[in-house]
Amino acid sequence: MAKKKKSLLKLFLLLFIIEVIIVIISSGYNKELQIGFEKGKFLLRNIEHPFNLQEKITEEFQIDEYYRQKGIEPTIYGSKEVYIFFKNTFGKENAISSFQLIRMLLIVDLILLLMALYIRRRLLSRPSKPQILFEMIYTALEEFVVETLGKQRANYAPYIVTLFIFIWTCNMIGLVPIPGFMEPTRNLNVPLGLGIFAVIIVHITAIKVKGVWGHLKNYVNFVKNPLFLLDIVSELSKVVSISFRLFGNILGGAIIILVVSSLVSFVVIPVGLSLFFGIFIGTIQAFVFTMLALTYIGVEISE
């Protein structure tokens, strides 16, 4: 066993040294090997490709601005009609970025749907491995729900579990090394939508528990609570804080990964950065989002 580990370590060291040498050699040339098909012909050539960090950041995070600066005619999959449709729907500034966002959200939804169908098709009393995994996630989160809201409100568990799995998948999909794959939560619209929905559910729960007048009494009671306007502001700030936290963490992580890995010419370090900012921060933030939504509901119930 120890011998195997040692030889693996040697192999890894050799690969690392080779990669460093390749990077050092190639960094002087600013050239890139291009392999592919163009107009039906096989293509293999060296193209001039000077790396520009500012341009790369603009391309990654403001794709429409990038096309405008470069003066390229913007198309989606080479199709002008699709671009014009998105331009008319979302405006000139957000056409391509909205397309990318919708594409990533659909991919995430497809993954979740396929996973649910696959696991649901073969539910067994002696569970298979994926079934055990999902039952573990479900029971752990359901336990939190029961602890916070009480046993008679365990029917909130499906919402909480869906929230967690959706946000977690959104954060993890940025790790897939395919061009154009990004975290949907990097766009502010997704966390904001989730946050608004969570706060709406909080208020629906409060109305269900205390009645319409009983809930409104907290806000329009002038005698007891003269600063009731601040309460309304605090409700709005719940949405802002819960959604901006997720958005800022994911966007900041993505920018740091891009900038630092371009500083080290994309050698090895990006793996560690992706481990920390992708997996660790992504999981923690998904967990924190669900826990905060749960806590907001719990506070309204306990009063």
Partner: protein, 84 residues
């Protein structure tokens, strides 16, 4: 790209402001999160059987106290990308 003097001053001030915003905004969350982690360590040392509950509460608390740092990050990004 050609700048007029006024645009240059605005751009420079925005970049400087972004750096200051991030640096000062990171102070508070750093102190706060360290404090929370230290207290959680004490709690786990005192009662190791509650470790999972303490860790969970610590993570949520840290995330809440981190939010001011995240706001400053958002403001810094706004300053960098939307000015000039």
């Amino acid at each position: 790209m050609q700048f007029t003097l006024a645009q240059g001053i605005v751009k420079a001030a925005a970049l400087l402001g972004a750096g200051l915003c991030m640096g000062m905004g990171a102070l508070g969350p750093g102190v706060g999160e360290g404090f929370v982690a230290g207290k959680a360590c004490e709690g786990i040392a005192r009662s190791p059987e509650n470790a999972s509950l303490i860790t969970r509460t610590m993570l949520v608390g840290q995330a809440v106290s981190e939010s001011t740092g995240i706001y400053s990050l958002v403001i810094a990004l706004l300053l960098i990308f939307s000015t000039g």
